[in-house]
């Protein structure tokens, strides 16, 4: 008899200051087995979490209070522990220059608001599978 294996423990840093977007994404991510969402509503908190936790991936809104998502991305890439961490950026329509900057800094993917949280999870799973 085979014993079903436990889902992997995946800790996802999610930096988003808009409570509507945050609620919808957390609601969807929480349905994924083994996923723990570490939510930060500003960039400074996100960076603190990144320094304290072992992460599986990060989802970063670009426009955040205190420190923006691009700053956090840059800090992650300079940190040996997170240099290869899968990172997805979130942005609103009309901020394409932010996306280009994000790729230059080492983002793995991006998604534009409005988006479907189901699509975000599918993209995230693809990034995690590549790890």
């Amino acid at each position: 008899m085979s014993v079903p294996s436990a889902p992997p423990d995946r800790r996802i840093l999610f930096a988003e200051d808009d409570p509507v977007t945050a609620r919808l994404v957390i609601h969807r991510l929480s349905r994924e087995p083994g996923v723990t969402v570490l939510h930060a509503a500003d960039g400074e908190t996100a960076l603190t979490i990144a320094r304290q936790e072992t992460l599986s991936a990060a989802i970063l809104d670009i426009r955040l209070p205190v420190l923006d998502g691009l700053y956090i991305l840059n800090a992650l890439r300079k940190d040996e522990r997170h240099a290869r961490l899968p990172v997805m950026m979130l942005t609103s329509l009309g901020s394409e220059t932010d996306i280009i900057r994000g790729f230059e800094l080492g983002a793995d993917d991006y998604i534009v608001k409005p988006f479907s949280p189901a699509e975000l999870v599918a993209r995230l799973q693809r990034l995690l599978a590549r790890r």
């Binding site: 426009r63 609103s92 409005p114």
Partner: protein, 115 residues
């Protein structure tokens, strides 16, 4: 991500919750906008306007998003938003309460009828 998808994900309860969250947050951010413009805090004003865009985009409130985008644009150019731009934003936020209530009721009815 519009109401139909939100119903799909979490039913009418989630739709009502995020609608209420958006309305209270938009009101709070709108007050923050005035304070930031008053203080000449351009980045704070731009961030407050941008936050309104995020929530409104996710709920399909394109009029609110467009009005907030105009205000954000002015803040990023380091100038006060015009009265017209702020009035337009106020008008769309005020209308959003009714728009969301009607959209939620319509979606609930559609789903009830489809059963």
């Amino acid at each position: 991500m519009y109401l139909g998808d939100i119903f799909e994900a979490g039913g009418q309860e989630l739709a009502r919750e995020v609608a209420d969250t958006f309305l209270s947050e938009a009101t709070r951010r709108r007050a923050a906008l005035d304070a930031a413009f008053e203080a000449g805090d351009w980045s704070g004003a731009a961030l407050a306007a941008h936050s309104i865009i995020s929530g409104s985009c996710m709920l399909g409130l394109t009029s609110v998003a467009e009005a907030a985008r105009q205000v954000e644009f002015m803040a990023r150019e380091q100038r006060r938003a015009t009265k017209d731009a702020l009035s337009a934003l106020d008008g769309t936020i005020a209308a959003a309460r009714d728009v969301l209530a009607r959209a939620i009721a319509a979606e609930a009815q559609r789903r009830g009828a489809a059963r």
